[in-house]
């Protein structure tokens, strides 16, 4: 008997057992197939992810999960491990969902790809969910617990995506929804049209109101509605985000927030030296250093200018003190006392969040609601930096600084030296623009506070391309012999 025949017999037996054992269920039958890895570390991570996918699905209770060990054994015995064969196997085994994936090592970490296929209506073997991500760790460097946390987070992200994108058709019979789910609400009703053997389409036939599986209107038998699991997806995201905060942040203490408040002025004043050296450089955060150099150094220049050309010095030289010079002096004080705080927060919270992302122990100061509110009130993007959102942090930083300068400029009273009396005559403020800037500043503050409180911490272990990267690209394409210019934006 050849190998093929042996495998075929086993496959048939398993198909029979699986089909028989699940014929009593009505929930979608999901099988978590092979998540493949080639090296030992890839395999280790793949096994952990698969295990957590199964656990999350089981706890969700919306699928009937096939015994993962048995399924794995049978898949390994299949005569071919191509997608086509596995889909064929899943179809014969009467599964509604089959999940397959790979874990690949790259120079800086792993690339994880997991796909889910739907076998029944409305998918008929099509892939309905594809999740691909990278995680920049070496899993063998991690302790068992941390490795498991990382795998669980990846699994939760995949499961959330799967739940978001999966729909189950429920058939209508005698104006009642059949199936294992009790549903209420408004749904689109579809009629099933077969165009050719097995090639069916769902044609929308209006919306229906359902209350506890009973339909108020009269709907022909055989129509279907599609239910989704978006709520479950949101629950998974919320649960794992909250859980990660509990794991990686030390329990927030009121003293921490008080210390941070007390430390605001010294931190801001020492920012030009402490932040680049002990913040970015010490932690090798060179992108942070570059952003700081581009965004903050010009303001430090203004600060220095304001102090060097302070009114007292100008008075010694008997010069007029313009509105701009007065405003720069006030702005210098603002930068010294408060304006440097956002950079300080950015340098240190970035490092803490980096540790938290990879479960490297519990980090202090982070995760405190009081600190979050205080920094949001302080403004200039501090709260956003605290939560690891640099883009928005710098947006608020510049907006606030511009408004503060506008406010100070219009508040400033220029001093004109009267040569005859040898005295300085004080000018007046620009009241109207001053109020406009004050109003604008208040508005930005309110928006910033609400925005800061509403965004989550940048805690995901996987890399998501969130930064805006506009990259002009001048090149001769060696493959298609095209000379051109391209401009790409990734976000």
């Amino acid at each position: 008997m050849n190998i093929c025949a042996k495998h075929t017999i086993v496959t048939i037996i398993v198909m029979y057992i699986v089909s028989f054992s699940f014929s009593v269920y009505a929930k979608p039958k999901a099988g978590f197939g092979i998540i493949r890895g080639y090296s030992s570390d890839e395999n280790y991570l793949a096994t952990l992810i698969r295990g957590h996918c199964v656990n999350i699905s089981t706890s969700l209770g919306i699928f009937d999960i096939i015994n993962p060990d048995n399924l794995l054994q049978q898949l390994q015995r299949l005569p071919c491990d191509e997608e086509q064969c596995i889909l064929q196997f899943a179809k014969q085994a009467d599964l509604q969902i089959i999940v397959l994936g790979t874990v690949e090592r790259s120079a800086w970490g792993y690339t994880i790809t997991i796909n889910a296929y739907g076998l029944d209506m409305p998918y008929y073997g099509k892939q309905f969910c594809s999740y691909s991500t990278t995680v920049a760790v070496n899993i063998l460097d991690k302790a068992d617990r941390e490795a498991s946390y990382i795998a669980e987070e990846i699994a939760s992200q995949f499961m959330a995506k799967l739940c978001e994108q999966y729909s189950v058709p429920l058939t209508i019979k005698n104006n009642t929804i059949t199936g294992d789910y009790t549903i209420s609400g408004r749904y689109t009703c579809y009629t099933v049209q077969t165009m050719y053997q097995g090639y069916t389409v769902l044609i929308p036939a209006g919306t229906i109101e359902v209350y506890k599986n009973t339909i108020a209107d009269s709907v022909p038998d055989g129509c279907v509605i599609l239910i989704d699991f978006k709520k479950e997806a949101e629950n998974i995201k919320q649960f794992y985000y909250g859980r990660k905060q509990e794991i990686v942040f030390k329990k927030p203490q009121a003293e921490d927030s008080c210390i941070l408040m007390a430390f605001t002025v010294p931190a801001s004043a020492t920012m030009p030296v402490v932040v680049p050296l002990f913040g970015y450089y010490a932690n090798e955060d060179y992108s942070g250093l570059l952003l700081w150099a581009g965004n903050v150094v010009p303001y430090i220049g203004l600060e220095l200018w304001g102090f060097v050309n302070r009114p007292a010095e100008l008075k010694k030289q008997y010069e007029d003190i313009s509105r701009n010079q007065m405003a720069l002096y006030y702005f210098a004080w603002y930068m010294l006392l408060v304006g440097g705080m956002p950079s300080f927060v950015d340098a240190f919270s970035h490092q803490y969040l980096q540790q938290a992302r990879y479960y490297e122990g519990q980090v202090p100061t982070m995760g405190s609601k009081t600190t979050e509110v205080y920094l949001a009130l302080l403004g200039s993007g501090s709260g956003m930096f605290y939560k690891g959102n640099r883009l928005w942090g710098y947006v608020y930083f510049h907006l606030t600084n511009m408004c503060v300068y506008g406010l100070l400029y219009n508040y400033a009273k220029p001093l004109h030296r009267d040569e005859t009396s040898n005295r300085y005559i004080r000018g007046s403020s620009h009241s109207k623009p001053m109020y406009v800037f004050a109003g604008l500043l208040s508005l930005i503050k309110i928006v910033e506070i609400v925005h800061t409180i509403s965004v989550p911490y940048a805690l995901s272990v996987t890399s998501e391309i969130t930064s805006v990267d506009v990259s002009p690209d001048f090149q001769i394409n060696a493959y298609e012999k095209v000379i051109g210019i391209s401009c790409a934006m990734h976000f």
């Binding site: 093929c4 042996k6 892939q127 090639y199 090149q475």
Partner: protein, 475 residues
């Protein structure tokens, strides 16, 4: 009856396979499975498969799976079975190691005249094992076309057909324009097939050409980026420093160690400073040492020479023998001494990286780093990418023009002229630093394409009495 069951089941599986589970390409791994090669050959085999999957035109299958499904006992039977199952292409791959270099030989054997692959053998090579699968993938992707060929499997009615292309190939439920300008409305998509409505009468077996949904350019760029990532990681200077941070060391060497070294030993100090980066070599790039030392002597001695030895040696002392132009030039020459030291250091580093086959820090972001370095140090970005000649050219031109600006400071029109010129050169330099390809031999070798750019040979169409000769050039 019991004995007949496996046979029936096998026949059923085969029938199902031939009908519902398409196989267009069979990948046959002929590598000798030594312990050194085994893992790499299986990863490369997967990469070959992935290349076809990513291009979404030909459905691949590994030979072992195909053997199991079709019940082939001997690999010699594969061609016959492949014809039977409508396979379009056989890909033979062999991974081997010669000295420190890994090779992979790919042989394409087309079985169907409609596919774009021609009968040829391609060899790729790399010293970093992880790059072999990527380079193999690149060669396969390059050989795909931007046209997706769909075959009509079934005629349902005068306008409705089933084609052998589905979601796997990137098809969605919408209307496509065929290469012949006619419309193809995709009504129902399955994983490997679709139900379509066409203008015109077609028969089973006719081919429809649709524009491919996959951007090969993006796939190829992604592969190049991964190879670059691998080289940057494997050849980073971290190994030289035994776990210490090469980026921090580079900054400290540049900003602290090198300036002091050059003050003590102009030119040669730059070479000594490279040791702080972990290099243990004993031979400097002597022309760089001479150039660095010469530049320092020139910067210190030019104004005293111009003043016939009567002017004060130090720029901050302006005596009556020094003209205003000489004073400005003197300040400029002394102020730019740190730049000269840095250029000398960059030159020695570029030489050391090339000789020792390492790559500078931050090489993963090589273009932006080169741009930033060039913004600070004249020619710095070109030195960073290993192009020392261009580095010196930019430094010399900008340094000389800077000197002319300083010397002609009191003449506004000349000052503006020279400043405009130096700004123009700076802009060109920044652009050049950004787009320049690194010239480190190890790096170029890893990114290089297949070793057989020109293919010459003869072949035959399977069992048919027809032979052909070919000459082709790969780009």
């Amino acid at each position: 009856m019991v004995c007949m069951l496996p046979v029936c089941v096998m026949l059923w599986i085969q029938a199902v396979y031939a009908d519902d589970m398409p196989v267009d390409v069979i990948i046959i791994n002929t590598s000798i499975q030594t312990p050194m090669i085994k893992a790499l050959s299986s990863i490369t085999e997967k990469a070959v498969k992935d290349a076809f999957v990513e291009c979404r035109q030909l459905v691949p299958s590994e030979a072992e799976s195909f053997f199991n499904i079709t019940g082939i006992q001997s690999p010699d039977d594969i061609i016959g079975k492949a014809h039977l199952y409508g396979v379009s292409l056989l890909v033979y791959m062999r991974v081997f190691l010669v000295g420190p270099v890994y090779y992979c030989e790919l042989s394409f054997k087309p079985m169907d005249s409609t596919i774009t692959f021609k009968e040829e053998t391609v060899t790729v090579q790399a010293t970093i094992a992880q790059n072999i699968p990527l380079k193999v993938k690149r060669e396969i992707i390059k050989r795909h076309q931007d046209i997706l060929q769909c075959r009509i499997k079934t005629k349902v009615d005068t306008r409705t057909y089933i084609i052998d292309t589905g979601q796997w190939h990137g098809l969605t439920e919408k209307t496509y324009t065929l290469a012949n300008g006619k419309q193809c409305a995709v009504k129902v998509v399955r994983r490997y097939t679709a139900l379509v409505q066409l203008d015109g009468d077609y028969i089973v077996g006719d081919m429809l050409a649709i524009k491919s949904t996959v951007s090969r350019k993006n796939l190829l760029e992604a592969i190049t980026a991964k190879i670059h990532e691998n080289v940057s990681y494997e050849r980073s200077g971290k190994e030289l420093l035994k776990g210490d941070s090469d980026s921090k060391r580079a900054m400290e060497a540049c900003c602290v160690v090198n300036p002091f070294g050059n003050i003590l030993l102009p030119g040669y100090g730059a070479f000594l400073a490279t040791h702080y980066m972990g290099f243990t070599h004993t031979e400097p790039e002597w022309w760089g040492v001479y150039a660095g030392a010469g530049a320092v002597i020139l910067q210190i001695g030019l104004v005293p020479v111009l003043g016939k030895g009567e002017v004060n040696l130090f720029p901050w002392i302006k005596d009556n023998d020094k003209t205003d132009a000489q004073h400005h030039l003197h300040v400029y020459l002394w102020a730019t001494l740190p730049v000269t030291y840095t250029v000398a250091f960059f030159n020695q580093l570029a030489y050391a990286y090339e000789k020792q086959r390492y790559l500078p820090p931050f090489f993963a972001d090589k273009d932006i780093t080169a741009l930033l370095i060039s913004a600070i140090v004249p020619g710095g970005g070109l030195f960073y990418k290993g192009n020392r000649l261009w580095g010196y050219t930019y430094w010399l031109s900008e340094f000389s023009l800077g000197g002319l600006i300083a010397y002609n400071w009191q003449y506004k029109s000349r000052r503006i002229l020279w400043a405009g010129l130096v700004s123009g050169i700076k802009l060109v330099e920044l652009f050049h630093a950004w787009v320049a390809t690194p010239v480190y031999a190890g790096y170029s070798y890893e990114l290089s394409h297949n070793t057989t750019p020109i293919n010459v040979g003869v072949g035959g169409f399977g069992t048919e009495l027809c032979f052909y000769a070919y000459f082709s050039k790969n780009y």
